[in-house]
Symmetry: D2
Subunit: 299 residues, 4 copies
């Protein structure tokens, strides 16, 4: 056979659900978008048009609906794990199930100082994320294994001072002036894994988020790189359950506007916000450097 299927995955993306917990007078509201992806012995579908082992992606969607009815989806990690385990446990030919959940946050409205029992605002770009990959056990009777990566995205932060960039490498294409005072703006994406099951999945999320924000603002930033590392290291310092954390921090430039043509000075007060081009800084920080050679990620 001259060519063969090498890798495959198939699934359903953007399965949206909203669940209202009405058990008490004070309602809870959870809104998620779920992606399901299966890997395993699906070769015949590709190479022979044989669908007999293909669970329809429409069925995956229905499964999300049914599980969201019966379980509490607001703890993303356990919902993802249970959902993914269903597929590897019920279908022998499924070797891996990947569940990605993106949660849209809705904040309870506070009106005249009082939390409202059932009204919420949803004007945030921030999202809570969870990506679980469940692997079928290699031997009968064993439990599925897996990995859960937690995270957040769309958290936009800015400081108007306490940031500089100087003493950098220069070549014949370098025109950037050194500065010891610039605006630092970023939209943070964070992903992390635990070395142990946390007692309180939502509590540790909230703490990690608070640490990232606090460290961003805490002290002078000599570069995005240095602040990124401080933010990641502070999470590892404060939370022993976090084994590794990856932060992506685009440098969303605010360029100083040249006002000299209009006989005006600009002592770091007026800036041009711009979306493109933008810098991109990404790094993973872990507790202990694995012995293998330094890994490179050009994804």
């Amino acid at each position: 056979m001259p060519h063969q299927l090498w890798t495959q995955s198939y699934g359903k993306s953007r399965v949206r659900i909203a669940k209202v917990d009405r058990d008490a007078d004070v309602h809870q509201y959870t809104e998620l978008s779920v992606d399901v992806e299966l890997d395993g012995d699906f070769d015949a579908a590709y190479t022979q048009g044989d669908n007999s082992l293909v669970l329809p992606t429409d069925t995956m969607k229905n499964t999300v609906y049914a599980f969201a009815r019966e379980l509490d989806p607001c703890e993303l990690e356990t919902f993802a794990w249970t959902l993914g385990s269903h597929f590897v446990e019920n279908f022998d030919h499924v070797s891996h199930a990947a569940i990605k959940i993106t949660q849209t946050p809705w904040q309870r409205l506070v009106i005249d100082g009082e939390p409202h029992p059932h009204a919420f605002s949803g004007s945030s770009t921030e999202r809570q994320t969870c990506h679980a990959v469940i692997t079928a056990p290699t031997k009968d009777g064993e439990d599925p294994e897996g990995a859960i990566e937690c995270g957040l995205e769309g958290l936009t932060l800015l400081k108007t001072t306490d940031s500089g960039f100087s003493k950098f490498l220069k070549d014949e294409y370098t025109t950037l002036p050194e500065t010891d005072d610039r605006i630092f703006a970023t939209t943070l994406t964070a992903k992390w894994v635990y070395n142990d099951t946390p007692d309180d999945w939502r509590g540790i999320r909230d703490r990690i988020r608070a640490i990232l924000i606090r460290e961003f603002a805490a002290r002078f930033s000599p570069s995005v790189q240095a602040t990124l590392f401080e933010m990641a290291a502070a999470v590892l310092d404060a939370e022993p359950a976090v084994e590794e954390i990856n932060l992506a921090m685009p440098n969303l430039h605010r360029h100083l506007i040249n006002l000299s043509p209009f006989d005006l000075d600009n002592p770091n007060v007026l800036f041009l916000p711009t979306d493109e081009p933008h810098g991109n800084i990404t790094a993973s920080v872990c507790r202990e450097r694995p012995e293998e050679a330094h890994a490179h990620d050009h994804g």
Copy 2:
């Protein structure tokens, strides 16, 4: 002459600026996108390729920069008015200048209970808006006239109960069941005009916003229409300076998911959020109905 220029406008859109007020240890940060649009005697540019009265849109951009340096742009209304007046006062052939400002809100970070002096978060989809149209005076020596419309957009609100829709008109295409309990979600756009210059432009904005949110959540909603009217009326009741207010409230449906194929009930707990199609309800409410015939806006 076989055809003529009937209407025109030209200008610059999406002129972005960020201004840092560093006068005190506690910084203020303002981020705006400004549109400038001029109308007047520009016919020769269109019909004869004569640019002698065309102020370049690049110059409009520079003017925004220079005015933002010299003025305080964070009071949107006075910034828009001053900017627009510049064009009608300095150029006799400009009959109208329209300035539209969209403000990206940045919230001061609160870290360990303390407001941070120079760090902010900007993860909100909400925007504050201001649209000023300045008209050249018809007689020499008079001041320019104008109108200022204030507003907000991107304010997403939801309530999980206290909303229904029943006893509506039915025809042969109606399949919607009546309900006395549904989710009500919307992304509010509000625009209003004042009958007098407010003492505190920012204070009244904040109060209007708070009233809109409070009324959205306040009581049972028999329809988007009724709640929209209550929200608008409450603003007019509380703020005598508001002459008219226009609200656009899309009905961002959360459809009840049918779980009966899986032998599951769904007592108003699991919903499908969807962006399309969506309902659209828009209305203006004013203090006193003008005597002219009911106006229709199909814009």
Copy 3:
């Protein structure tokens, strides 16, 4: 009563349909997004929570589906007219129905030189549009009246030369250099109305589109304004059925990049494409100037 409903409209947006005409071996495929909006005597819904005259927006959606099944939706104008007429003819309290249709174009695939009978590509940002407003007759027995505006949007055009901008008005904020050779890029939105019912709605659309493209490219452009006017005038010249045409042409700048820091010249070869800020030129051209004063549109 202290405040009153002044204007209102309500409806359903983004009702999407795809229709396959399978009557012949060669299939036709039409894909539309339809907005329906009604105006009329809906005050009680707003002011009294009385839904008895409110046709649900869900019913509007169903009506679009049923009409799309029974009619040929690919002639946008007649489909919009018939749909809108349904609402004003069947509901006495509906004074106006506005139908907006946006068509996603799908091009038949040509494979090895042969048009394929049922495969299409849909990778275009261009859209065909139609906006019909149907007004209830003021007297019984009369037919509804109305207006149809046809158009297109998302047609992106660029020329690498034969464009300049010079001899323009300068003030103290002007820094733009004059040029007799620049790149001219725009994304055209066109809207026009007919003074008579065209024989062939699709034919005249295609001809208007071809004229707009041809004139854009035809000769030296001294300004966006002048080229816009030539494009509009050419449509009026060639198509007597067109009464008025409105063109919106943002100036999507390609700025010359300064390469002198790298000891490189840049004889109009390397440019920076940018989305913001951008110029905005909009004008309407009609056959004959109405006698009323020059109209201004600051929308």
Copy 4:
């Protein structure tokens, strides 16, 4: 040491350029967005705030500009390779340079049957892509090594018939009916690598694209999976220089609309286009299965 930098990359994204080749009367126009990303010995920047080995991302942008002036950027692969090699060859501490190029296609306008010398349309969502990773040689005097992945994205295809999905796996959550006639719509992303340097980089791109489109439309599709495999296999069959190809084909559903409430049938003529949820099918097909275990990609 309690925590260490594990992986990093930094660079500049969305560096946009437009180049006009004016050497002949017939102009060529190329528009690209370039991402540059460097890996190597950058640890001190993260852990010690030492920028001495950090080439600013602004310099990367300038390098793209200078190289685009001096080279012909329209052959994406050689431009990416040369650009990436510059960084690994000039900076000993850079171990890898990744260059990602996305090309916006501009089609030459054909007016009255004649190709226009300098006017183009750019209304396509399709993009040509190239991702080159250049690795520093491990020994002095050796050339850098690297890999180039070519591709396209945003190519939207649809067929109105000759597609079905039946005899699939069913469980208690399956409600999808079997069908032997449905609409098949997708937006194709393709990525491939060569086993040898092609003689004509642009020629082979065009041929691969044509094969993908032809096979999509060629015959009955029993599933997205089977058609995806046929498309990939046809490329490998026709182009010996292609070693492996990865296709991602979301299933952009067109659901049959139930018209029975309105006493209308729907013999596969009226469909609801929807963006979410959507199926996702991704697979790589290669010439020869490597001996290692079947690889899984849950990316």
